[in-house]
Amino acid sequence: MKGSLTNTGAAVRAGAGGGRDAWVAVVQAVVFFGVVAGAWEAGSRAGWWNPVLIPSPSDIFRYIGEALGKGELQSACYVTMRRLVFGYAVGILLGIPLGLLTARFRFAANTLGVLALGLQTLPSVCWVPLSILWFHSNPEGAMLFIVVMGTLWAVLLATDHGIRQIPPIYRRAAATMGSKGFHLLWRVLLPASLPHLVSGAKQGWAFAWRSLMAAEIYVAISTGYGLGHLLHFGRELHAMDQVAAVMLVIIVIGFAADKALFSPWERFLRRRWGLTV
């Protein structure tokens, strides 16, 4: 018994990437990206490819430096993040309660559930033409709509699935201790479906990010330029360093947001459930 406990403890620590393992991971990643960037830069300087089509890392970072100097990049990041956070929040705040409804009521499952399943398969960029027409004088509304369409269905379906897969024994055990109604929902059903909620929220985040970039590239705008617009203008100006730089920024923001938003939840799931999402 003691042996197995110690083993579990070790597995949990290793899984959490504590200490040594974490350093190894960081060093390996830094060396890998350093070598790739170095080879890329060397190739560009040696003239192995056209620097206009494939800008060198130094060109990309020069553009980033200039754009930061002008404040252009910060303001684009801010505008994009504002839209993203707002749309994502709306998607989550609608998706979780609607998912609870479809999990609880057969009627909701047969109607809204089927609708969600259908719209989930539709890439949200497909909403761009219609939303431009619907919100023609309100581009922010159009983009919000597209982001919400990207987030909502994934979150709804994950919530629905999460609630349905709860072992019935949890509900029964909670009932014998006097838990019912809102207490049952808040203290048992939602936490019990947490692994699914987190993976749904993560998927929703990824969809929201993709949809927003598509929306910003396509929707003509007068209410503030986001990263998608910078990308679009870069293409129109044939400024590939700008395009590549904005792509890099999009990657970095997506990566950082993923870590900042979901790592705490994933750590919690690993510590308590002993599982990885």
Partner: protein, 266 residues
């Protein structure tokens, strides 16, 4: 209410099951899980419901717990009709049913948090006391997945006992454990029952287990579920499952069970 009141054992309740019938409606045919079953369990009595699977013993336990409702007949605890689950009747299941999002202490606190008129400090004190009773103080802050099967059932026992129920319903709680862990838990359960006398309804298909733990053993036969025989176990406590007297009595009961099953052609 103070922590002393809370730790002072609640008076165990008297259970009455009066002519209870329970039918499960199936697609092809209905199954009569319990047919006109009556019994009384005295205050602080440890009663084992024994029988092969499908004999309705777990159904009866669920009815007593209030998790299901009978199709006919009534169940009462201290004269009050059992209409739903409630904290006066704690339940332990075959699966530990602990909540993985909570640590060990928080699991024990779950039922306590639903009891009004207690300060948080008192609740924590009660939880600590019960973890001490089941011998898990060093694991108070562990996650459930870090515990062995036997330890999980100990936490489940602490969680069921902590809100101070009058009745403890146990549905084959040790069936999934290895023999050595199980024997340790028989000792612990008897010790706890001596300190904090509860009315216990214990479902099992293990004859020796029933003889080792019960004051009384009720024998069920299936299709439809009925109580067919009753054995009073007067052996001195604490009992050991490997004791000769326990084994002898278990053999007698097994023989009787086989005779009954044969007579009913099942």
């Amino acid at each position: 209410m103070t922590i002393e009141d809370e730790l002072h054992n609640a008076a165990p309740a008297k259970l009455t099951v009066d002519r209870v019938t329970k039918v499960y409606r199936g697609k092809r045919q209905d199954v009569k899980a319990l047919d006109d079953v009556s019994l009384t369990v005295g205050e602080g009595e440890f009663v084992c419901l024994l029988g092969p699977s499908g004999c309705g013993k777990s159904t009866l336990l669920n009815l007593i717990a209030g998790l299901e409702q009978p199709d006919a007949g009534t169940l009462t605890a201290d004269g009050e009709l059992i209409e739903g689950p409630g904290r006066q009747r704690g339940v332990m299941f075959q699966e530990h049913a602990l909540f993985p999002w909570l640590d060990v202490t928080q699991n024990v606190l779950f039922g306590l948090n639903l009891k009004p008129n207690l300060s948080d400090e008192d609740r924590r004190g009660v939880a600590r006391a019960f973890l001490e009773i089941v011998g898990l103080t060093p694991f108070a802050n562990s996650g459930i997945h870090e515990l062995s099967g036997g330890m999980k059932q100990r936490v489940a026992l602490a969680r069921a006992l902590a809100p101070n129920p009058q009745v403890l319903c146990m549905d084959e709680p040790f069936a999934a454990l290895d023999a050595m862990t199980r024997e340790q838990l028989y000792d612990d359960l008897q010790k706890i029952q001596q300190q904090r006398r509860k009315t216990v309804v214990f479902v099992t298909h293990n004859v020796r287990e029933a003889v080792c733990l019960g004051d009384r053993v009720l024998l069920f036969t299936p299709r439809p579920g009925r109580i067919r025989a009753e054995f009073r176990i007067d052996l001195p406590r604490p009992r050991n499952i490997n004791d000769v007297a326990v084994a002898q009595l278990a053999t007698t009961i097994t023989t009787e069970l086989k005779r009954l099953l044969k007579a009913e052609n099942v």
